[in-house]
Amino acid sequence: MAFFIKEALRSVQRNSVPSFAAMASILVTVLVLGIFIPITQATTGAANEVRDKVLVNVYLKTDAKNADRDRVSALLRRDTKYVGKVEFVSRQAAYREQKKDYPEYYSELLGSNPLPDTFRVTPDSPDNALKLRDALAPLTASGQRATVDPAIDTVKNRKDDTSNILFITRVVKYAMALLAALLVLASVLLISNTIRLSLFARRREVEVMKLVGATDWFIRWPFVIEGVLLGALGGVLAVLALTVGKVAFVDPLVSDFALLRAPETMQFGVLALLLLGASVGVSAMGSGLSLRRFLKV
């Protein structure tokens, strides 16, 4: 084993230019991946967050009694499908909330409270928001919506562009996934190509080794170890650069930008380990596999 490691070190030393090229391509791709993966996750997280805000508001009639309220509440909590969470906002609470946000209108213009009691219903999954609305207020033959309970005045999505939100966030998620897949593919191709080039330059060497009577694995081990070394070096450098970038630029901004806080983003340590493992694995396997072609002598 010591012999193989020595051989690998010697070949890195003697082929410093191709080795450096392989190392640099690993560094760059790991760096790009290291930046892109958190961005993907943050974006997906943000999209999910937007989706979670999709609500169905059930407005009761302003003259609804307490009994009506309890009945609707029970209906929502027990008898309706797609219901995730139900939050009751009484008309007084709604009034206070609004007054706090728009003091001038509510204190000066309005004497009485025009707001109804409201149930804020979160669907079990954002995609079911529209189904939930249909369940609570099915379309009638005349094209208008009837409510399932006489006490319910109207059923509305918080914004009627719920369907837009759902569509856009889905597009964003799929686009990100596609981009990530493409980027990973590009990295693997780039690295394997670089490795293949540097091996191609040494195919005669491999040929001579075979003629002297070296077995395939005797030739292959130094190359694999070389791949591990270069992959590890490139990976470590890239992770270092990422750490510097994170500490210097991202961390100070976290308090100001919600997107950067992104709770769904994986821990930096996990990310670093993943990237390191990938770079070592890809380059070791790349050099081991690409060599196969030159071993047929």
Binding site: E205, V208, M209, V212, G213, A214, F218
Partner: protein, 285 residues
């Protein structure tokens, strides 16, 4: 060695007549057709005994290199069997190929040294491959390099050496395992006549230690001077197998060569009157 053993050996030697010495290389009806359809070798049959020094001569494309490639198992014969030291080459597969090659010394026209290793490491590699201990390597390599006259170039890289020196390294690498069979494909093809003599001398010395040596060459001066066994290949066929022969049966003089150049048929070939052993003369000085 106990006297009894020595006696037993002597008796065995006496029992086996010299003409029944085991053959090292045996070609039996070997043909090779390349994928492109080119004929490499046609029904070649010959045997080479242990300790022989054989020249394989012929024009380029005649099939010399095909024989060499078949012997190092770079190619497989289309038909026929090749045995080396009694083993059928067709039955050697996978890892066995590497192990088989360890028992061969191979020297090429273009040296085939590892460019990023020193002379010492190039020779040592042949031993590392076979799993020799570092101690043995340290003992063996300087020895063989002294034998080939390279003790002062231990730490040079191949590109710092002359062609002759590189070929000496290649010979050292081929011989460091003391293989029973040494193959040299145009070993002097890239070298000037003076240097060539040095390389041939080296091969001859190796042959003297009991190693069978096969040299493919078109260095006619060398063949004529050494007068060893000559196997001539022409268009894939063995056309001559002669002990103590010259490069060519035809020893044309200037006027005959002139006729050949003008496209007229050359007169009857004339055998060299007295071959003589020029070889020992060549190396005495």
């Amino acid at each position: 060695m106990a006297i009894v053993e020595r006696h037993a050996r002597a008796r065995n030697r006496a029992a086996a007549p010299p003409d029944r010495a085991p053959s090292v290389v045996e070609f039996a009806g070997v043909s090779k057709t390349y994928e492109s359809g080119d004929r490499g070798l046609e029904l070649a049959t010959f045997t080479i005994d242990r300790g022989e020094f054989v020249f394989l001569v012929g024009q380029t494309g005649s099939g010399k290199s095909t024989i060499m490639r078949l012997l190092i198992k770079e190619h497989e014969p289309t038909s026929g069997t090749i045995s080396v030291a009694g083993k059928d080459l067709a039955k050697i597969e996978g890892k066995g190929v590497a192990h088989y090659r360890r028992n061969l010394g191979v020297v090429f026209q273009d040296f085939k040294l590892l460019p990023n290793r020193t002379v010492y490491d190039n020779v040592a590699y042949a031993l590392q491959v076979t799993g020799h201990k570092r101690k043995e390597i340290r003992a063996k390599v300087p020895d063989i390099l002294r034998l080939t006259g390279l003790s002062l170039k231990l730490h040079s890289y191949p590109d710092q050496l002359s062609g002759g020196e590189q070929q000496r390294v290649a010979v050292a690498r081929a011989f460091v395992n003391h293989p029973p069979l040494l193959l040299a494909d145009e070993p002097t093809g890239n070298l000037d006549p003076e240097t060539s003599i040095g390389i041939m001398q080296l091969l001859y010395r190796i042959n003297r230690t009991g190693t069978t040596v096969i040299v493919a060459t078109h260095d006619n001066a060398m063949v004529d001077r050494m007068r060893r066994r000559v196997i001539e290949v022409h268009q894939g066929r063995i056309v001559r197998d002669e002990h103590g022969g010259g490069y060519s049966t035809e020893d044309e003089n200037t006027s005959e060569f002139g006729l050949l150049m003008r496209g007229e048929p050359s007169p009857q070939p004339r055998r060299l009157s007295s071959p003589g052993d020029f070889f020992d003369d060549a190396f005495r000085g």
